[in-house]
Symmetry: D2
Subunit: 416 residues, 4 copies
């Protein structure tokens, strides 16, 4: 998502509108609930992304700015400790007021103020930079909205449909093969041209040992083989913390899988569907990805290996814009790298840590990424619920290893 | 609430309509949430009371009855183990579908079927008896709806208003005095004329020792004296389980109380209000009621003492019909017993156990009361959120001792 | 256990010595551990009972008394809030110092001081009264020591033996029959002659309805029938709180039962043993006792019914003095009431509440019983681990309904 | 700790004897308890290290070997899933049998069998290799024994003394300065000469960016400045997971610190002592180390930076052999690197992950390290409770970031 001065306002409008269009099939009730601490109500997402513009731009650049509602500063701050107290994350689903309509009014109000400000301050690089962050942030919440609706709906035995599936197309996964990369010094990280988050840089040298990386992600069909061979009952494949997680949660399959009359199904945003054996497996935790890799005698790639292998490829694939919010089984089948981008986020074996020489943003926005650099792992490539314009080769996503409500799969690697 | 054959249908319609009128100020969002396991979403109450008629009457008396939606049998059964599985109580607030509108449609459907059945089976004593239980049940959920909305709203820092207060009137509590009752055998329990729940009978002899019972409930002003004298910090007043509860929950005042700028306020269904010092204290647990009584050198009455003292009084007072959902400070002031009925449920010191010779109802309705006869205590007299026609001298309400989201206060007693 | 002035010292010495003799087979390691919050290390029991004499007698009656160790006032106070802070109950098993030897030295020190005081103050009624309470307290801890050792040992897969079984004798339970009692006013509670705890009085009138009570407790063999008929899987027999307890703890049989090669065994203080089908069932919770009674179409007796039925019987039976710490299957077989006293504590359906007109002791000893009068139920009759001299018809024991590490069984009753 | 064929038996005897000598001041009771899941009773350590030799050597190399006690295979396996079931870690402190004496007998038995086997199989490289791992393992448990005794004792308000302090000597910390290292490819990891754990290799190239590393660890005095400036109350210094940990546990200072009459003390293995302001701070979690570093505008070193800076230094310092189980304030003061080895383990910012090309050991011993490579961080350099012969430049220790019962401090670093 590149912005130029002249297009800032139109990009702002386009992105904000897209968010609202995304949720237009929801009923009012659907906007409110929160089935676990780590998911948020859609209403909260709509308000929080709006708060972001109000807090970091309007409040700063409009003299004597009057907030839409002072209480929203408390209710819709997510985790920015340095700008004030915030409502406990686990209680977001208990707040029925403001209503959805009032929340949309809050959006309209801030959008108007933003439009006015951007018109007055055309070409202000500071403001444009903040707007860009705000819109990238909005895009991340577009993905979160879909993840969280899926999670919330999954608690309803009626299996609600968020969006009817239109034309699901099916294909066959190419045979598993590997691309090999040589040993040596590689440049990793963002070079500063165009937008990137603070944690993507600086571009820096790293030493890569010779490795091979798979031509495609692991499929549902392959993952079923792991399950059927007893993978979830055999501790020898698992990291110690992972095995404890498996036992405590009685995991026996990826999240959202349901065995119905002996056949594997998956709860999707289009309701319960039969498993597509050739599509990439998704909604697995790092622990499951890692266990599968050990079981198969291989390993996950590091994030540097992944980036080095993929950085020359065009960012193209099955993204949110297709409005089919499931990884699918359409492959190019031409022997080139498949599904590097889109379909599923790919777990790497790399803990989420700062790059050498990295400096977080100044001020409260420094909390955006840096403070999460503990106990999380990096995922790469984007998924079928990620806006295409949001992704690049250097993009680093991150989750705790037991999390699996994100659309996460994985690709195998090995030493040469 | 007495029914005669000719009036069953009209009573049915009146009670069902009243429930819907009760919630007409709610926004759609308000119907959905559940801030704790022990409260339920309004939407769930509306559906569950409907399920009650469908399950226990329509399904039984209409040949080949087709359910409105089979899944609702699972979703809206509360706790009747003997009629099938049910959705976990703690997850009621995660169910956004059926929507409020669909739930109202479910009500209309069942109401139509009920109307038809009642028209066809005028004078059928079995059906009329079940309808009566169903309507008493509906009334209990009318009260629960108000209790639960208050609880849910209390988590919102915006202090939402459920119903604007109209004309709050204030008075002065008469001085505390006691009525004395002689030793001897007393008859306790319901005599079988008119409706009563199974646990109210049989009427039976019990031996009462001489006692005195207070002319009115303990007031907010008196309770503040307990607080200010250190009542919540002094273990000597408290039952052992109560003291642990106080410490674990860091209780320092009744539920819903807020100290704002040095003055005590209370969150009410009409928003945050100043404490009315002369009104009965409410939203105290059994532990707090018991601690206050010990602190004052007195005790709580037994349920038999309460019933014996009040059974000749007319059931009149400050009930739900007044649409002022707070205990108030209007007293008769004529030296007679005050607020025996209405305003606040009054904790007794009596554990909720079966009366001698008691027999629960046959079948699933036997689960209505009997299985809760452990770890709970009896409250008497009804509250400002209870329908007046629902209450009688023998009526037994019950809650666990740490619960306080019900409108519960207490009245003192002592041995002679 | 009756004391007269001349015998106070000898009774003191006898009781204190008996405690030490009781634990002489233990290894040092056995004295230290605590497998759950509600059990205590043997070492703690030895110290706490000693603290009781030091705190309530020596400290009061010896001018300028110097404590053996000031820190023990904190470490060995159990729950007397009004005499000072105490060490958290759940951490008693983490305290290795004082050692067992040092704890025995503490006992010897206090015993010497007590001997001296009792010699100087022969016939002092206040002191004699406190000594009596202290010795009754010591007896209660003798039983607790056995209960807690059994509980702690049960966590060891080696099934340690506390005391080798000597001559286990087996008999046959007489057929179940019932004794009938007439309706009317009965006198219940202790009349003040001889020692009784404060909660046993005053003797007072109560109205009893006609009832029948079983000639013996329910046996292991009968309880197995309940289990085999699906008792633990059928919610209809259970109180609601009980059913939740069953599911959360996955109860399928009484505590300490082990199915070994298809045969029921029980962990005892003499190791793992085959179940004696004719002995009273023990280590069942109130919930299990109540469920069995409902399953069989009967009920548990009230504590008043129990006392009224048993008060004329001699207090004789299978008690701690037999040193066979399991209920056994020896019956008189003469058609009279069997095992009213000894073998197992018998759950009643009566919540533990104060008798009419009851007054707890003044001062800290008022905390001994009164503050536990919530959420517990009364058991009657003593068990095979209770000292015989400790029991009388009016004796009230009490436990929370889910507890079952005590030697608790039950006897059936029914309405006439 | 290098072994040669001729010295295997003598090294075995020396190491095993040292373990027993280490605990000779303990009372029997001290061997038994376990104050938290992550610590173990001393008795368990003595048995588990013995089980290690029995399981991985005697059982394999002695035909028809009969175990000392079959039940010990279950009781004293720590976490080796692939060799069988094991007793739950959190219940190690509930096992009183075998007694300490029986445990010592188990040690003697296995030592005799080992002596016999080693005499028969002099020069057997496989056996010698396993013995070496077993002795390295024994050394790790020597350190764990001291860590765990300290932790267990810390729950006793009597502050027990494990070992009287002999001659505590005090010095002054040199001023903080930094050593600078150039950018370039560095070799990291063990080269295979002499013993190393599987996770220390292979030696491999890595790219280091220019950095500076401090001349000494951060001191208690410096850490107090962080505390006094509000470090524990200011979220901006903390990782998100760290800040949650601080709030949930109400951390306000390092573990074992006690403010007594306004002065900071520390519970040590020699009882409560005044803080030595010039000694390295210890018993801080990764979160605290990282927060301090951010507060001071610097960062922690990576494990590669640490190793590269220290690998040429002699492994010398304040280790377990000094029998003064606290970091001290004696410095060389000659301008060279201080306390690289000994005193405190130093947190690095490096998550514990496998080196490129790393292969865990085959079989069950592959579980020794590899399965812990998630959510933990690397510490380097050894501490005052580590045997000196156990440490080398490439040694990788690892703990979860919230853990702080190990003797952990940290050293600052920065980018050039």
């Amino acid at each position: 998502m590149e912005t130029t001065h002249q297009s800032v306002l139109s990009l702002y409008t386009k992105t904000r509108t897209f968010t609202e269009k995304l949720v237009e099939t929801l009923k009012t009730e659907d906007f409110v609930v929160q089935a676990a601490k780590h998911v948020s109500p859609t209403k909260w997402h709509l308000a929080h992304t709006t708060w972001f513009f109000e807090k970091f731009i309007l409040e700063v650049y409009i003299p004597d700015y009057r907030h839409y509602n002072e209480a929203f500063l408390f209710l819709f701050n997510s985790y920015y400790e340095t700008v004030g107290e915030f409502h406990p994350q686990k209680r977001r689903g208990l707040i029925t007021r403001p209503t959805v309509e009032e929340t949309m009014d809050y959006r309209r109000h801030v959008d108007q103020e933003m439009s006015r400000l951007l018109a007055e301050r055309v070409g202000d690089a500071d403001i444009d930079g903040l707007v860009e962050i705000g819109l990238q942030h909005e895009q991340q919440h577009q993905e979160l909205i879909l993840m969280d609706i899926k999670y919330n709906f999954s608690y309803n035995p009626l299996y609600p449909v968020f969006k009817e599936q239109v034309d699901a197309s099916y294909g066959r996964a190419p045979e598993l093969s590997f691309f090999e990369f040589k040993e040596g010094i590689a440049d990793i990280g963002h070079n500063g041209e165009g937008f990137a988050f603070d944690h993507e840089g600086p571009r820096h040298k790293t030493y890569l040992h010779p490795y091979r990386i798979a031509n495609r992600p692991v499929t549902n069909g392959e993952f079923i083989q792991f399950m059927e061979s007893g993978g979830y009952e055999q501790p020898e494949h698992w990291l110690s913390d992972g095995w404890r997680t498996v036992k405590e949660n009685q995991w026996k399959h990826p999240q959202y899988w349901v065995n119905k009359d002996g056949e594997w199904h998956m709860f999707t945003l289009s309701g319960l569907q039969k498993i597509d054996l050739d599509a990439p497996v998704s909604h697995v935790s790092f622990y499951e990805a890692d266990a599968y890799a050990r079981w198969s005698g291989l390993r996950l790639p590091t994030e540097q290996e992944w980036e080095h292998a993929m950085e020359k490829l065009e960012v193209d694939g099955h993204f949110m814009e297709h409005e089919q919010y499931q990884p699918h089984s359409i492959y190019k089948g031409d022997g080139t790298m498949e599904k590097a981008y889109g379909d599923v986020w790919e777990w790497t074996q790399s803990p989420y840590v700062p790059y050498p020489g990295n400096k977080p943003l100044d001020g409260a926005l420094g909390e955006y990424n840096a403070k999460f650099m503990a106990n999380q792992l990096v995922l790469r490539g984007g998924a079928c619920v990620t806006p295409q314009s949001h992704i690049r080769a250097t993009y680093r996503n991150f989750f705790h290893p037991q999390m699996r409500w994100q659309f996460s799969g994985f690709r195998l690697a090995e030493d040469v």
